[in-house]
C-alpha cells in the first residue's frame, strides 16, 4: 500500500519476498534501530518546561479589563460547553454593559479544553490561556470561581492578538 500522486494504491497480492515475511521483519528492524540514534523529543519536566505557542489551549480564563470582567454573563459558553463545565449566574450592574456574572464557575474536572467557550464568546471575555499545570486535591478545589479565572488583559495580550489574527 502506498500513496502516489494523491491516489491510493492498494496491493492486494504480496510479492514472494513479502510473503516470506522475514525480509520485511528485517526492514522493520532497521527502521526502528535507526530511530534509536535520532534526537529525542522528551522535555525534562520540571527543570525544562514547555513554553506553549499562542495557539495553545490551556485552561480557560476570564479577561479582566479596567478592573472588571468583560463578561456579560450571556451564558453562551455554558450552553455550548459539551462537557457542561461552566455555570454562570447573571446579575445587574450599574455599568454600561448592564449585565455581569455575579458567579462564574468552571468545573475543571469536567473541562475538556476544547475551546468552544472561547469561540462562541461574543465579548472575547473567556479565552484559553497557556496554563496547563492543573493539580487538585479535591473535587471542590477543581471548581474555579471568578477569583481564579479573572486575569488582566495585559497578561493574555498574545492570545487576544492570535484570536484577532486568526479570525
Amino acid at each position: 500500500m502506498g500513496r502516489d500522486n494523491g491516489k491510493m494504491i492498494r496491493t492486494k497480492d504480496l510479492t514472494f519476498w513479502q510473503k516470506l515475511y522475514l525480509p520485511e521483519v528485517f526492514k522493520g528492524l532497521s527502521l526502528t534501530l535507526s530511530q534509536m540514534f535520532k534526537p529525542k523529543f522528551t522535555y525534562m519536566y520540571p527543570e525544562e518546561r514547555f513554553q506553549p505557542p499562542s495557539s495553545f489551549r490551556g485552561r480557560p480564563i476570564l479577561v479582566e479589563e479596567n478592573g472588571v470582567e468583560r463578561c456579560v454573563a450571556c451564558g453562551l459558553c455554558s450552553r455550548v460547553c459539551p462537557a457542561l463545565a461552566i455555570e454562570v449566574q447573571a446579575s445587574e450592574t450599574e455599568l454600561e454593559k448592564e449585565r455581569y456574572p455575579v458567579r462564574f464557575e468552571i468545573n475543571m474536572v469536567r473541562c475538556i479544553f476544547c475551546g468552544f467557550c472561547e469561540e462562541v464568546c461574543p465579548e472575547e471575555a473567556i479565552i484559553m490561556s497557556k496554563e496547563y499545570e492543573l493539580v487538585f486535591s479535591s473535587q471542590e478545589e477543581a471548581i474555579f470561581g471568578k477569583e481564579r479565572l479573572l486575569t488582566p488583559a495585559e497578561q493574555v495580550r498574545e492570545r487576544l492578538e492570535f484570536l484577532r489574527n486568526s479570525r
Binding site: C74, G75, L76, R79, S91, K97, N107
Partner: protein, 558 residues
Amino acid sequence: MATITINGTEFQVDAKSTIIEAARANGIHIPHFCWHPKLSVSGNCRMCLVEVEQMPKLLIACATQVADGMVVKTKSERVIQAQKAVMEFLLINHPLDCPICDEAGECKLQEYAYQYSVGYSRFEEDKVHKPKRVPLGPNVMLDVERCIMCSRCIRFSEEIAKQPVLTFTQRGTHVVLTTFPGSELDNPYSMNVIELCPVGALTSRDFRFKARVWEMAATESVCNGCARGCNMNIWTRNNEILRLTPRQNEEVNSSWMCDYGRLETFKHVNASERLSGPSVRVDRELRSIGWEETVSELASELRGFRKNEIAGIGSAYATNEDNFVFQRFIKEVLGSKHLDLLPHVIEQVEDDLLIKADRTPNSLGARNVGIEPSSGGLSASGIRNAINDGSIRALYVLEDDIAADPEWHSVLQKLRLLVVHSAVQNATTALAHVVLPASTYAEKHGTITNFQGRVQRLQPAVATSETDRRMDGLAASRWDKFSSKNDRWGRPVKFDARPSWRILVSVAAALGTRMKYNTAEDVFGEIANVVPVYRGMSFARIGSKGVLSKSSPVPVKT
C-alpha cells in the same frame, strides 16, 4: 365561506377572516410581528406581506380580508425579497445585544432573523441611540433601542387591560415608546406585555437577568393565586422556580395571567421560611424529629381525645386529593363530625377579566370532595366557639394559616393539641404542637377545581428531598439531566416535605386504619368513583387543559 388558494392549495375559509387568519387556521405560517390574534389589527410591521394575484403590490396579510377565488402566494420570490427587506430595515437600529437581552432564546426577531433574513448587515453607520433601562411600571422594564414599534403593548393596554397609558412619541427612526406624563404601566395585567413584545424591549423586572430561557425547564401547571386557576408554565432552574408564564387556555384565561399570580404565588416555594422536616413542640419549643417518630407521637396524642373533642379544618389551598383524604381521616379515622374550611374572599379585587374575589384556588373542589360538617357537626364558627368554651380540645388544620385571623388566633391558644400541615412558617405553626411540612402545589401531583367547576392538573416542578427530578419524571433541563454530585448545579436545595394526603395516610396507618393510596392518581381514582360530580374522570382525561365537572355552578364563558 370563501374558497381561496394559498401556495397552490385550495382552502375553504371564513369569508370574514383576513388572509393571515385563514392561513393560520390551515396551518400555514405567515411571519408577523405586530399582528396578534387577541388584539386589533395595526398593520405597521410589514412582515406579513404576501403576493395576491392580480394585485400590483404585495399586501399585508393581517389587514386584507379574503375574497372568493383569491390566489395567495406566501413563499414567492417577491415575498421572500420583501421579507428580507423588512428584516433588514428592522435590524438597522436594533442594538443586537442578544447576549445581554433576557428575551434571547424566545425572541421573534431572533427567530425570524434566522428564517427570513439575509444573515449579514450592510449598515455601516451609527445606530440611533435611545433610552435604555427605563422602568415603565413596577413590574416592566423598557429598552427603547430594542423596540421595533409594533405597538402590541399599546393595544394590549388599551383593549385588554383597559389602562391606556402607553404611546409612541417622535417619528421615523426616533420613535420612542413611553407612558403618558404622570402615569405608569401599573395595571394588574401589565406583565402580559412582556410575552406580547416580540423583542426584548419589554422585560420582567422580577425575572431580570435571573436565567437564560434555555437553562430552565418548563412544567405545565395551574396558578394558585385565585379561584380562576389560570393555566401556566412553571419555569425552574436548579430546582428553583424563577418565573411563571401564562399557558393558553381559551376556556379559562385566554393567553393572559395577572401580575399577582405571576409574582406572588411562587416565592414561598423556595423561601427561607420553608419548613423542612416535621417538628413537635416539647417544652414550648418546636423540636425537629424524624417522620416516623412524629407520626407515632401524633397518633398516640390523638388517641387521648374523645371523638367529639376533635375537629378538622380543611383547606381551599390544598388539592382535591389532600382534602378528600383529610375528610376521610377526620370523619372515618378520628370519627369526628366537626369539619369545615375557612373561606378567603376579598370582594374588592375581582374584575371582569381574570381576577376572582375568592383568593383560594380550590374552594369549590374542597367542598365537592366533602369538606363540610357531618350531620350534627359544627361549622367553622361553631368549632371556634367550641374551642373557646373548651368542648373541642384538639384541632387538625390542613394547609391554611387560620391564626392569621385574629379571632382564631386568640382561641387557638386554648387547644390541648393543634396539628398543622403547612409549607411555610406562619402564625399557625407558631402556635402548633405538631407541625407537618406539606409539599407546595409546585411539588406534587394533584387536581384543583376552579370557580367554573373545571378540574385541572397540578404537576411537580420542584423536587423535594424524597423525589428525584430524573427518576420521578419532572421536567428537566440539560443541566438537570447531566448533573453529578461534583457539580454545584447538581446539588440543589431540596426541602423535606410531603404531600398532605400521604402524611394523612401514614398518620391513619399509625392509628390502625389502612388507606390504600400509593399515588395522587390512586386518590383521584377513588374521588372519581365516590364523588358524583367527578364521576368518570381520570388524570389522563383531565390532560393539560382540564375537564369541566358534571354540575358546574357557573356557566362557562366561551
